[in-house]
Assembly symmetry: C2
Homo-oligomer: 438 residues x 2
């Protein structure tokens, strides 16, 4: 190894649109991790990457360097195939909570490390914490031991995994360099590949409630994610899914846990199950435990009808210190004293339920964070959300608001009344699942 | 005034190519000055400006905000016109040392605040410090008092003038964001306009020894500088001058002082005097003390032939604590024990003297800095430099090297032997002064 490239030379090369060398990208990631690059140099390079892009080769090198900036979990002692799922984030997206035990019940190990909510509503880890006693902060050795015993574990980011991403993500957030496809790719994949998985399925969302609102941009991200992951030797597929209206009927942490339990009991909402099966099918196919999507679908449906997925969920909750009885009695979850309906202003059909509007209403109720340090109220949210295409009569509820006080209730009602549009004439519900990439 | 715009919103707008509002630019400059923007946010915006540019309107607002980040000298008590000259920097550029007293001898006040050398060779302030006793660090009130009394003062940047530029320049240097026309414009003009001048003449150089090597880019900078300065109400003209070979015969701090004294004595090299007169003519015309360039030229030539410019130089040197006898006896300047000629390898004509090569040789001798904290040796450098178009015989000196030790001498000789090209057949010396812009 020669001497590390100077930060300003690396920055100048990317600024001028050149493809960076491996040593330059590794110097940048090492600099972010050990502090040898100043924050102002990191952010200047982040902006240059934002505006000049990175080739697939550069993105793969960045991903690998970031992955190796911390511990890479060694799950080689587990012989079963290990597959994870990652979603780019949407409103009402509680898929991981029931999909992970469904897939584990089919014999595929699911080692899932998730983030907290960065958008308007809680993330998977926030939802799990709505279960009384549930511990998301396992160490990597506890995580591995649980995967060996139970076949599934859902934990939060640990300090050992990809420290470079914590540094870079914090900088990107305050320097307007978040929405860059190579930087998003490297951030997502470095953390997922550090889990020690064999394959990965991505849920890449588009629409008003998605991180990437435009379908074309989301597709670009899906292509980049799958090609970089493959270049790193990990079979990966991306399922494009629509996020114009929330997934399912519930938005809010405890309310979403309850809806996931309904899914495991065989009574999940159609749109939510459509996405769940599409993702689960790809997981089983990539794991090699199903020959094709149809065969995988049969296995996944059987995990529900047999009760094995619900058992696996109880086992998972108990293993992480939570109360497994929530799988049978949702009244054990945190709840507001009551819920207040939002009546439909007219007879007609639900023409649109704006996911971003619902998310803002839920955030205002306390279900999400405005800043990283904000606390979340697990009980609040929106339930019984009407779906696009649904016929409603004047005065019938379009949803129910679970609020901790009257002011927040009034604000949420006002936002939701604008977000849910009722009009004359029937409309059909658009499909959720689009193209599969990779 | 409302609340200041958030740094990340301002960064995002520039990143997306929008024209920034006055309040956004003012927030950035205030943030650089008072520390309310983090360095990583400043550098992210600098990179976005580098890559997305700034309109003339934005550049003028940035310049004004930077100028107002510190003290703006109030020279309104001085009734005579006050005009300064600024050069973008070149090799052997000692013009300020003799031009300032020439123009002052013609009745125009010259309030000149200069930087140290940022390139390979010393800046005006470094050259002045080669004069025994000369103080460049006057306070602004000493500066004003001397301008009232002597009509000319040459000092270094003070802490009170444009603190925002000190912060931003230091960041630009380590984040590869120096070569941006709007940022260069705002940096130069904010400092010059803070001097309290009525008008400004710019020497914008192009060629191998210039900051902007390409003529088209240099012209772009000249157009930007003059239009922004005019938008701020300051009559300004830019003289484009070639910097492919060094100006005059000497490069090195004391050697250049001696050459400036020769200019004041009427025996300055032709190319150096061509640039000196072109700039001086514009200064007198903008000051309103000459009707046109030809009339200004007569006044400037008379300042030399009458000895008034040399007297003004003595007065200037004495006023700032220096030994005025250097105007009559160059042996009072620091000098090396001897000088060693570089012999011509053949009979022929000098076809090229690469300014960058000469600058690197001079820097190696200790005449310039590699880092801001390096000390300069005032005695070292190159003298008697042959000029392009000059006929030379084999073994005749192409220049003399003034070195402090043998190793440095050998290195300089080797670099200079490559920089000075002798070939068969006559060539003519190209003109130094090009277009006048503004």
């Amino acid at each position: 190894m020669g001497t590390a490239p100077f930060p300003q030379h690396v920055i100048a090369r990317k600024r001028d649109g050149s493809e960076l060398e491996r040593a330059e990208i590794e110097a940048f990631v090492a600099g972010a991790t050990d502090g040898s690059w100043a924050d102002y140099q990191l952010s200047a390079l982040l902006m240059a990457v934002f505006l000049k892009g990175m080739s697939p080769r550069e993105t793969a090198i960045l991903t690998e360097a970031m992955m190796r900036s911390g511990t890479v979990a060694d799950l080689s002692s587990i012989r079963a195939p290990k597959v994870d799922k990652h979603s780019t984030g949407g409103v009402g997206d509680k898929v991981s909570l029931h999909l992970a035990p469904m897939v584990a019940a089919c014999g595929v190990v699911v080692p899932m490390i998730s983030g907290r909510g960065l958008g308007h509503t809680g993330g998977t880890v926030d939802k799990l914490e709505a279960i009384p006693g549930f511990r998301v902060g396992l160490s990597l050795s506890e995580f591995r031991a649980q995967l060996e015993r139970v076949g599934v574990s859902l934990i939060s980011q640990t300090a050992e995994i990809v420290p470079a991403d914590r540094k870079l993500y914090a900088l990107r957030d305050v320097t307007a360099t978040v929405e860059s496809i190579p930087l998003i790719c490297a951030s997502i994949l470095s953390k997922k590949l550090a889990e020690g998985i064999d394959a990965l399925v991505l849920d890449v969302k588009f629409g008003s409630g998605a991180f990437m609102k435009e379908k074309a941009r989301a597709r670009e991200l899906a292509v980049a994610l799958t090609s970089v992951a493959k270049a790193m030797g990990k079979p990966t597929r991306a399922v494009m899914t629509a996020m114009d209206e929330p997934l399912g009927h519930a938005v809010g942490n405890a309310l979403e846990v309850a809806e996931s339990v309904e899914c495991l009991r065989g009574s999940g909402p159609a749109d939510l199950m459509e996405v769940t099966y599409a993702l689960g099918e790809q997981m089983l196919v990539l794991a090699g435990t199903a020959a094709d999507a149809a065969a995988a679908r049969v296995q996944l449906e059987r995990s529900i009808s047999s009760g094995s997925a619900l058992s696996k969920f109880r086992e998972l909750v108990a293993a992480q210190g939570g109360d497994p009885r929530v799988a049978d009695d949702p009244s054990l979850l945190p709840a507001c004293p009551g819920k207040v309906p939002l009546p439909s202003p007219s007879d007609g059909w639900v023409r649109g339920v704006d996911a971003l509007g619902v998310a803002l209403a839920a955030q205002g109720l306390g279900a999400g964070r405005a800043r990283a340090e904000d606390a979340i109220d697990p009980a609040v949210g929106v339930s019984g959300l009407a779906k696009v295409g649904q016929r409603v009569g004047k005065g019938e509820p379009l949803c129910f608001v679970h609020a901790s006080d009257r002011d927040r209730l009034a604000d949420a009602h006002a936002i939701l009344a604008r977000a849910i549009v009722v009009g004359p004439g029937p409309v059909s519900q658009p499909p959720r699942v689009g193209e599969i990439i990779g």
